[in-house]
Subunit: 79 residues, 2 copies
């Protein structure tokens, strides 16, 4: 199971970029975004800095709060 | 942070359905799939039964082993 702990930055970077873009489009601060998704207030900052290995349930919760599909958070940022 | 532990079955169900389809297309057993992704041998079975809240790094590792994009594991199964 150790390999699951390896940093695999690509998906984290996609989430960070998409989250930041979607959040800013809504004019939401990191703290407001965190509150909307029922996360700790520092968690969105951690996600945007790629330092958190979010779970799939957490990612779905974030998508629901943003009103997007979960795949929108994982799309290639330049698509 | 409690809310992140709530069951949000939709994303888990998508992963389960896509994983099962992609694995079977390759003729791989659950155990072979687990070995290819460097997971514990029972982990793929757990994912296909929606009982595991996989992390984004784990999901990326699974996508790499299957040779697909991570979004392919989260696409609506009937798309």
């Amino acid at each position: 199971m150790n390999a699951r702990k390896k940093p695999l930055p690509n998906a984290r970077e996609r989430i960070a970029a998409n989250l930041k873009r979607l959040r800013k489009e809504r004019g939401w601060s990191q703290e407001f975004m965190a509150e909307a998704a029922d996360f700790h207030r520092t968690y969105v900052s951690q996600l945007e800095r790629c330092i958190t290995n979010i779970s799939i349930d957490g990612l779905e919760q974030l998508a629901l709060a943003l009103g997007v599909d979960i795949t929108d958070l994982l799309a290639e940022p330049n698509e």
